[in-house]
């Protein structure tokens, strides 16, 4: 599979697995650009936008959502077989999403607590990212993804260029935008120092801490940040939840959360 999309008018497919549709919605939110994009790509499969569905193959597939059922496991393989360049979009597709919390819970137990007929449910015990099941050509992180980044990656692919994703920390975006640090000046918890850039430091721009929607920054030093935030007076249990959040299945966050839970007597 190559990053290059060579067809004159490449065919785009957008697919959904376990998710809230928010990432696909970001695509629809590209109000000013969507028509121009539709001139350059054939939108062959995008159920959230149109019920008209064209069969594959697809030059580019955007996949939203995590794998949570046995049917998902089969369907993602079908999508892979039909797609030349497959991009997983959003925290569900790249990290299992908030629903990955089931991975550390007893699924059988809560099934019977919540549903009158748990036997009608077809669900796996885990919520896993797309890359656990098939090879993925690129991942666009975020909860939701940044629509500008989705557009940028697609426009680059149309020119035959690789994605060149942002790899800085949220703090770097935060400072480039001239925001005042909420940890240093506000004594608030913020996950920015361990989180991958991409949102433009949205939460700090509104005076609150980052939730780590974009997953761990490369080499994230979870324990050092956790120690600092604990010093602000945050209980370890609450801190563990911050690391257990939307992208908490990533090893860097998971191990920090486990460390905090272990020490929480």
């Amino acid at each position: 599979m190559s990053a290059r999309v060579r067809a004159a008018r490449p065919r785009l497919g957008v697919f959904k697995f376990a998710s809230c549709d928010g990432c696909q919605l970001q695509l629809l939110n590209l109000e000013d650009e969507l028509l121009a994009l539709a001139d350059r790509v054939e939108i062959a499969h995008f159920l959230e936008a149109s019920s008209r569905v064209e069969p594959g193959p697809y030059d580019v597939a955007l996949v939203e959502g995590s794998i949570t059922t046995s049917r998902d496991v089969e369907r993602i393989r079908e999508v892979r077989d039909q797609s030349a360049f497959l991009i997983a979009i959003g925290a569900c597709a790249t990290a299992g999403g908030i629903q990955h919390l089931r991975n550390v819970a007893d699924v059988e137990a809560w099934k019977s607590e919540i549903y009158p007929h748990p036997e009608w449910l077809d669900t796996l015990a885990t919520s896993t990212p797309i890359s656990d099941h098939i090879p993925v050509d690129h991942e666009i992180h975020g909860c939701p993804v940044n629509k500008r980044e989705v557009l940028r990656v697609m426009l680059r692919a149309l020119l035959g260029a690789g994605p060149d994703p942002p790899r800085a920390s949220v703090c770097m975006e935060c400072k480039r935008s001239g925001h005042v640090c909420v940890i240093v000046a506000g004594g608030q918890a913020c996950m920015g120092p361990v989180t991958r850039a991409g949102c433009g430091a949205l939460c700090p721009s509104l005076g609150r801490g980052c939730y780590a929607c974009f997953g761990p920054y490369e080499g994230a030093n979870g324990p050092a940040l956790a120690g600092r935030l604990e010093g602000l007076g945050l209980p370890r249990r609450d801190l563990a939840r911050r690391f257990r959040g939307i992208t908490g299945s990533h090893p860097a966050f998971r191990s920090t959360a486990e460390g905090l839970e272990d020490g929480d007597g």
Partner: protein, 373 residues
Amino acid sequence: MPDASEPCWLERTRLQRLLDVLLERGFEVHGPVLRDGATLFAPVQRVAELAAGWRDEQTPGGYSLEPCGEARTFGVVSGPGALKPFVFAPHEPLLQVRMDGPGSSFEAEPVLPEGHKVAVLGARACDLAALAVQDRIFLRGRFPDPHYAVRRRALFTIGVSCTRSVSTCFCTSQGTGPEVTGGYDLALTELAEGFVVRFGSPEGEDLVGALGLPIASEEALRRERSDLDACAEGIERALDSGDLRDLLYANLGHPRWEEVGERCLGCGNCTMVCPTCFCHDQRDEPALDGAASLRVREWDSCFNPEHSQIHGINFRARVRDRYRQWLVHKLAGWVDQFDTSGCVGCGRCITWCPVGIDLTEEVDAIRRTEGAS
């Protein structure tokens, strides 16, 4: 018109007149305003918008404001923003690239900033020293940076000498402050009733003339001197710079790097707030029609793993390596490269490091246990 050597006097009540004259002359005036628990330089029209009546406390990893109980306009020593963004933009277009059709040649046209006139009121001595360092990097080399040059030409600086410092300041070690002694258009020192004013450029001189300022009294100058001396004496943090370059080069294998690498988040805040750090990245942003793209540059950091990624290999793969790169480059490599230290002692990297890592402490630790490697 007073002689250049003769400081003038501006009554506190006439500070608005200074702003008015700058605004009349077409400057966008930026001054320190309160924003989200700190001060930032922001456009102002009225003196009342400035962060008067407050003072800051700064510690490693901590910043807070409190009322200072007097009518000081510049009671807050500094915020996270220095002069850097005014000349070296955090994000800016460099080149517009166009292609006529598939396979055809392309044209690239520089996109220069407009260079609208900006006056910054309230730059500290360390900020002005950092601007001089950045001038050296961006303008004096073999390839002067045209974008920086446009913004720099349009910048008018009004420095304010420090009559108080915060715990993270160490300009006295770096010979950059607390008194504004160069690199300014106008320099102010704030006293209870007003400001001692000096000009440092023909534009500054012209402005002083337009304001029709009287000569400062001997009494005002005497008080100015004692306030400045008291401020300098009150600065306790120090960086022993004498043999720093050799010390760091000789200790590249010191275990302290490993230890600081455990504490450091690799977040890059220190480099973003540092008024001299100049690293940047360039990216191409394709246009919708597929026939054009914009090349933009933005602030990058040696703490960004991508910064040391070359042909699939990261030669500073660990945070330890990146912290060492930052400190050794800033305090030693710059001396070889630019004939100046990269540190002006402003203390921002200490205050705005979320975990309060203090470069003066790191250097001391290495000095104390030199040869431990």
